[in-house]
């Protein structure tokens, strides 16, 4: 069952990738969709078995060892699946969303020439993601981690004739690699500290190491903090946290189903999963948790400010994703791991819904993504319109939609942490909640209401998407409505399902404390959500001249937000250009300094002596001379060594006597 759940998508990938030509597009779509749906069914059965008991002892992870990967000295790495509560929740989220996206893609990519390849890559991604969440050791996790990175690279650059898509795919891979740099070092540090990379062993050894120090980069530092911060650097890259986030908006160059699956629902949440998975270590590294909280809070805030100013419908949702990931991280930082995973799950539903809905809009508008060229669509595509409202309400945290439960829980936990950074994240989160609601409303009113701003030809062509695209949307919409209510008790309530898979020290149990925060803390996010939506309506439906007036009044802020806080420009100046500059410099030094002193210099000197000799001959003459010279050196050295050795012998025999 576990093996089928993980490997069915791999089968789909292999069949569609190797035999895509032979089986045709229909065949490829069939095998990939069946692969992922089988995986989804298996995951759901596993979920029931693992969470509600079944035949095994509750709390103990099921580990299935497949084969040895490699052993080196004390390092032993197996291919193994570890299915515990945390893993099984992730597997369900991944496979269900992925199934919806697979089916949706059949419709969305119907005009594309490379359907089989697209479906194959989607399945490859799903497989890598499943390997990531079911990993039993850090190195297998790294395999999944890099695997999803490659799948993401392939899918962002899927339309590889577009230079912008290629640039975005490389950027995504490289920025992620910067994060992986940290993750790899984190794994080395963990192995250095504990002598193992196996999760079970790491977790049982972590408490003893709570006081240990290690030397890192010449400094004597708290060991677990070093390990956790390095691992967190990996998480920052994959989950687009502030500093390593610049790839995510560009990743929107990929086809929209990709954005929904990889850059909203699953891959970008891998960082959240990583920290939750490593909770038994983070719990003993309070400084690392503090950093996680601060980074998460800042990300939530900064991303929301940018989201308010963008015009590309996908980029708005992308920044919104980044902002929501920030929420998840500060939840992790205050030890509310359950709340983070809860938000991860609800977010997967409503954000995939929003992306696929946006895809449906883009599809209807003949590939137009700029909201300034939309408007007045709601009568023509009422189903998509309704679904987008559901997604937006869930995102804005309006009561009884999924996002309301999880986001409130996060904010309450941050408040209940009673630390300066918890408070810091709480207020940033509240501000971000207001902005979230505002840009959600902005998106809806700009895209669907008002007068049509597109030309007549495009407007005439606007049509509702086919059922193969709408049915997956409806499934996700159901999740966006009900997942919060249904999951509340299990994820963050009094009877949580996590068992041993998440560890929270008693002193850090903010989720329990969150049930007892003051009433205003509980109500404030709702107020913010409603006010944000109202403001969005005022700005973009009622008084449509307000946005341009306000952007003039707050010009410096608007410029900062609109230009994404100038991260790309700064990085280009301090990393990319210097790297190329140094590359050219070193290349020149290779030619001029190293060769100049070495072979070419010799050659030139020998030309000087040779005078009239042609180059070819001089080479040989020179070589003879060179060998003779070396021979001379050899002889001298030989005598040197010989006398030296005799001297030693004399001394030794002298000492012996």
């Amino acid at each position: 069952m576990e093996i089928t759940a993980v490997f069915a998508p791999l089968f789909g990938f292999l069949l569609a990738f190797l035999f895509g030509k032979n089986m045709g597009d229909k065949g490829a779509q069939f095998v990939t969709c069946s692969g992922i749906i089988i995986a989804a069914i298996c995951s759901c059965i596993l979920f029931v078995e693992v969470i509600f008991g079944g035949d095994h002892h509750a709390g103990e992870p099921r580990t299935i060892t497949l084969m040895t990967w490699f052993n080196s000295g004390t390092l032993a790495v197996d291919w193994a699946l570890r299915v515990d509560q945390l893993a099984v929740v992730m597997m369900c989220v991944v496979t269900v969303v992925s199934s919806c996206v697979h089916v949706y893609s059949v419709g969305y990519m119907s005009h594309d020439a490379h359907k089989a390849r697209f479906m194959a890559y989607l399945s490859l991604f799903s497989f890598a993601m499943l390997m990531l969440v079911s990993a039993d050791n850090l190195i297998q996790l790294f395999f999944g981690w890099e695997g999803v990175g490659v799948a993401s690279y392939l899918l962002i650059g899927f339309w590889n004739h577009k230079e912008s898509a290629n640039a975005a795919s490389i950027k995504a891979f490289l920025v992620n690699r910067v994060g992986d740099f940290g993750l790899a070092l984190g794994i080395f540090a963990a192995f250095f500290l504990f002598g193992t990379v196996q999760f079970d062993e790491l977790f049982s050894l972590a408490p003893e190491a709570a006081k240990a120090n290690m030397n890192f980069f010449g400094y004597e530092l708290h060991a677990l903090t070093v390990v956790c911060l390095l691992l967190f650097m990996g998480a920052m890259g994959k989950s687009a946290q502030l500093g390593l986030h610049t790839w995510l908006p560009d990743a929107m160059e990929g086809p929209t189903p990709v954005s929904a699956l990889i850059h909203a629902a699953t891959m970008v949440t891998a960082g959240v999963f990583l920290v939750a998975r490593m909770s038994p270590m983070f719990e003993y590294a309070p400084d690392a948790l503090m950093v996680v909280t601060v980074v998460g809070g800042l990300t939530a805030f900064v991303a929301a400010t940018i989201g308010m100013t963008q015009f590309d419908i996908k980029r708005v949702i992308a920044y919104s994703t980044m902002s929501q990931l920030g929420y998840m991280f500060f939840a992790l930082g205050v030890s509310a791991y359950g709340a983070a995973i809860f938000h991860l799950m609800t977010h997967a539903f409503f954000k995939a819904l929003l992306f696929l809905g946006a895809g449906s809009v883009i599809h209807a508008m003949s590939d137009e993504q700029d909201m300034r060229n939309m408007g007045g669509l709601w009568k023509k595509i009422p189903t998509t319109y309704t679904l987008m409202w559901i997604g937006s309400l869930a995102l804005a945290g309006v009561p009884f939609f999924a996002g309301y439960y999880s986001k409130d829980m996060i904010l309450e936990s941050a408040f209940a942490d009673h630390s300066w950074f918890g408070e810091f994240a709480f207020w940033l989160g509240i501000a971000a909640a207001l902005m979230t609601a505002f840009y959600s409303a902005r998106l809806l009113f700009m895209a669907f209401h008002g007068k049509p701003r597109a030309d007549k030809k495009t407007m005439d062509h606007v049509h509702e998407s086919p059922p193969v695209m709408l049915v997956p949307l409806m499934i996700l919409a159901a999740g966006a409505i009900f997942a919060g209510y249904l999951g509340y008790e299990a994820f963050v309530g009094h009877h949580q399902i996590w068992g041993e898979s998440i560890k929270v020290l008693a002193a850090n149990d903010t989720i329990a404390a969150a049930h007892h925060v003051p009433l205003w803390v509980k109500k404030l996010p709702i107020v913010m959500g409603v006010v944000g939506l109202f403001l969005g309506w005022v700005f973009y439906s009622k008084f449509t001249s307000l946005p341009s007036i306000s952007s003039k009044i707050f010009k410096p802020f608007h410029a900062l937000f609109f230009n994404k806080w100038f991260f790309d420009e700064i990085y280009n100046k301090i990393f990319v250009l210097p790297a190329l500059w140094f590359g050219k410099l070193f290349w020149k030094s290779d030619k001029n300094v190293v060769d100049g002193l070495g072979p070419d210099g010799f050659a030139k000197t020998s030309y000087g002596f040779g005078g009239m000799l042609s180059r070819f001959q001089s080479g040989y003459v020179f070589q003879y001379a060179f060998v003779m010279m070396l021979g001379l050196i050899a002889l001298i050295s030989w005598f040197y060594f010989k006398t030296d050795l005799e001297l030693i012998e004399q001394i030794e025999t002298g000492a012996g006597e």
Binding site: S72, G583, F641
Partner: protein, 500 residues
Amino acid sequence: MINFSILSLLTFLPLVGVVFILLTRGNEERVTRNSRRVALYTTIFNFILSIYMLVNFDGTSADFQFVEKTEWFPALGLSYSMGIDGISLFFVILSTFLTPICLLASWHSIKTRVKEYMIAFLVLETFMIGTFCALDIVLFYVFFESVLIPMFIIIGVWGGPRRVYSSYKFFLYTLLGSVLMLLAIIWLGMNVGTDIPTIIEANSIPFHVQLWLWLAFFASFAVKMPMWPVHTWLPDAHVEAPTAGSVILAGVLLKMGGYGFLRFSLPMFPEASEYFAPMIMWMSVIAIIYTSLVALVQEDMKKLIAYSSVAHMGFVTLGLFTMTTQGVEGGIFQMLSHGIISAALFLCVGVVYDRLHTRDIARYGGLVKNMPKYATVFMIFMLGSVGLPGTSGFVGEFLTLMGAFQVNTIIAVFATTGVVLGAAYMLVLYRRVIFGEQKNKDAAAMPDLTKIEYGYLVPLVLIVLWLGIAPSYVMDKVAPSVEKLIGQYEAGLTISKGGK
């Protein structure tokens, strides 16, 4: 168990092929055809023979196996002594595996002096295998240096327009190193003996002599690796060499330096190795960062891959001189993996070079449209070179860095940046060649892989994936010998320290 002299057979069988080629008579065309076939069949048979040896190799033992020993020059105390352990085993297999692939790769691209070309390759194979099997330092030296001759000829005769300059440079560099090594070998021969296992066991060389000997060997191996800053011969040699020459150069010849460190420097001069290890590790780090940055700005495909080879070899030296189990095993694995991946990358360059006769990256672009199979195969090797988990490139790189972290975190941090830079230059290369718009009509009209090309690239793909997913088959056979090596190294350190 094998009860015949399999190592000698492996080593000298290619020479039998040479005899057959020399015996072929008839018109030009017939000689060409027959010498191609004889060479290919000989090398394939040799590969099968080496697999037979692999199957019979006892992977649990750290001792030298299939040992042969006869007197050679008794007056000088030299013996013809051959044997392999877990460290040399897979280098032999790598040599026998890559040679037939090289011949296939030059099946159509080499049109002049085919007979001589085939002879050069067969002779080269003999010397390569001999280098990895020799257990007598003089015998080793003979093979090790002889390799230069056919290689020098391959570059100098069948190379590109600047072949004279680059073969000269190649020769000069390697000669410089080898003369110094010869001195060290003479010293060893006069004072300790020439039998490698005996020298290691005796462990009797005083520290200050070790330093000199170590430096002399280092001069040779560092050039071969090549380590920064004596790497500048490599890009030129690669650029001018024919495809198959590059494949052997990157695939096997570069590994002889690393093998030398493992067989000589570390076990024979442990104290000197420990003394120089920080220097080597810093040189490796510089190599990784420096050459990766240089690779980033290359416009010539072969130069780019050549520079990437220097960076990858930097991981090898870094790993070997950590003298941790992970570092050394990772270094060995990295060499094997690089032997496959860089060979494959040069073959990939050869595929398009044969069609368009230029290595200029800007002349290509959008090849995924007309050469989708090529794009897929190239993608897998590119990802292998980047060190993606699941390909062979990952295991070696990861283990060497893991070893380095245990010794010095600062070095490990700097070396790990190579993981980012390595991805940068390979992805940019791939993007410029394979993706994007088709700007050049002639590049857009190139046909996809031929059957022969497919035939030698697909096995390489499978090996890259196999070594990535189940490297333990190889690593478990290497492990006992590495354990023994580290044991000898540490024993060398403790004895001398106890003596002081």
